[in-house]
Amino acid sequence: MVKVRYVERPTLSTVEKIFFIDFVYGLKTTIRNFFRKTITTIYPKEKLVPPKRFRGTHAHRAKDGNEPPSFVVLAKFMEIHDYESRCVACYMCQQACPMPTLFKIEAEQLPNGKKRVTTFDMNLLNCLYCGLCVDACPVDCIIMTDEFENAGERRNQCVIHKDDMTERGISFDRRRGNEPDRIWIDDKAREKLWGQIEWT
């Protein structure tokens, strides 16, 4: 048996009906907004800096001495020079990706027995920026940066490659590597909205 609960809708009092009090409240709100500062940004002139966790164009972290232990284990089987992409061609990102044809990863075996990544292409036209590839990467190589202006005039301009991804990763780490990992750019704005966080 379904119990139906009737909710009393708020009704206007006689005074409110005669003098349109709620209209006056609305007019007060709009005129207060009218004298406030605008909250828009004039986009091509002003650009907002996205938060560090923003899921923008992908990049590769380089081999720069900050690798996780999992990379150190694999590094001796890989032919990777300093400040090159630390990708080990494990295909985890391709496995995690919901779009089967987004990645094109190729690797070869060198005569000295080591493995070298030759191709790492991503077709961003198919990408939905879910970030699953970032979660899947075992060596903390593929990341997503704060760059969002990746429109191109031709389709092939939307395919990113290993080299430019490495460049982007280096520049991203240089720009924002030391920044604490947080959602809000401005801690004060967050505190105003959500209050102080009380850690246990």
């Binding site: 609305g26 007019l27 709100t29 709009t30 005129i31 907004n33 009218f34 605008t38 828009t40 004039i42």
Partner: protein, 336 residues
């Protein structure tokens, strides 16, 4: 010879009025867009010219050069006529509106109105009502569902507010004893002579009627962007489309604000502190305030349903006007 002079003077004056009103309406769009933007905490047009000052010109060029599509199976005559029928009567109301006192410049006596009819107010009302037929015809002629609903809604609203509007104006007319807009202004002398102090009920009903007639927000059922695509003008394009908002939202609102100023706020009466053009400046100042108030209401309130508008018009506004008429008649008779 004198007749030719009179005719020439009238033609020149009319052309000045029409062109001036066109330019003014174009810039009123900018005023509205800026105002609406700032109410929603965004700046409005900003890039064309200094703070968007050239935006109306860009808009006009765009609207004029756009392809003018006429859908198949429309009622051609009514379809073409509707946009003109909305626009021309709205601008014709200007003929009876006095913008200030007579002034003498270089020996010529300049009258700031095209004609001073003794039935000016009635003519303004009649033309305002004809202008509504443009909307209804547009809805009917488009042979499309949303415009049809929009046009019918406007017709339903029209039935409601027109009666209340007519009766609301009886109060000021009785107090002034004339239909001529100039004489009504001359009947209100001094700060406390303005009819707003004696006819507040009539003013509220008149405000309701202005909002309903010009299709501004609490009563914009004929456009209702969220429900009816764009309402009665969905099938229109190019300048035929441009004339509708221009006529309804800007010229009609401007002209009806002018009538509101004349009827309730003492028209151009005011202290002579601006020199010879004092009366014009007072008139335009009051007009601007009323117009901005209408914009303010428009960008604040949500929309009434059609049945609510009809209910409001017949059950609230019409009895209010009757009470107002009886009270006014009583007072006028007692005071002699």
């Amino acid at each position: 010879m004198e007749l030719i002079g009179v005719i020439l003077g009238l033609v020149v004056k009319s052309v000045i009025f029409v062109i001036g009103m066109f330019l003014l309406a174009a810039y009123l769009t900018l005023v509205e867009r800026k105002f609406a933007g700032h109410i929603q905490q965004r700046p409005g047009p900003l890039h064309v010219g200094f703070h968007g000052l050239l935006q109306p010109i860009a808009d006009a060029l765009k609207v004029i050069t756009k392809e003018d599509l006429v859908p198949d199976f429309v009622d051609k005559l009514l379809f073409y006529m509707a946009s003109l029928l909305a626009f021309v009567p709205a601008i014709m109301i200007l003929a009876v509106i006095p913008f200030g006192e007579k002034i003498t410049l270089f020996g010529y006596e300049l009258k700031p109105y095209i004609t001073d009819l003794n039935v000016g107010l009635i003519l303004a009302l009649a033309l305002g009502s004809i202008s509504i037929y443009g909307v209804i015809f547009a809805g009917w002629a488009s042979n499309s569902k949303y415009p049809m609903i929009g046009g019918l809604r406007k017709a339903a609203v029209l039935i409601g507010y027109e009666v209340a509007l007519g009766f609301a104006l009886v109060g000021p007319i009785m107090m002034a004893g004339s239909f001529s807009l100039r004489e009504i202004v001359e009947a209100q002398q001094g700060f406390f002579g303005a009819f707003i102090w004696y006819q507040p009920i009539a003013f509220i009903v008149f405000l309701f009627a202005i909002l309903a007639e010009t299709g501004r927000t609490p009563f914009d059922v004929q456009e209702a962007e969220a429900e009816l695509v764009s309402g009665y003008n969905t099938e229109y394009s190019g300048m035929k489309f441009g004339l509708f908002p221009l006529a309804e939202w800007y010229i009609a609102t401007f002209v009806l604000s002018a009538i509101a100023v004349i009827l309730f706020f003492g028209g151009w009466n005011g202290p002579h502190i601006f020199g010879p053009f004092s009366s014009y400046i007072w008139f335009l100042l009051k007009l601007g305030i009323v117009f901005m108030f209408l914009l303010w209401v428009h960008w604040t309130l949500p929309r009434y349903r059609v049945d609510q508008i009809t209910e409001l018009a017949w059950k609230v506004m019409l009895p209010l006007t009757f009470i107002n008429i009886f009270l006014t008649a009583f007072i006028v008779v007692i005071k002699g």
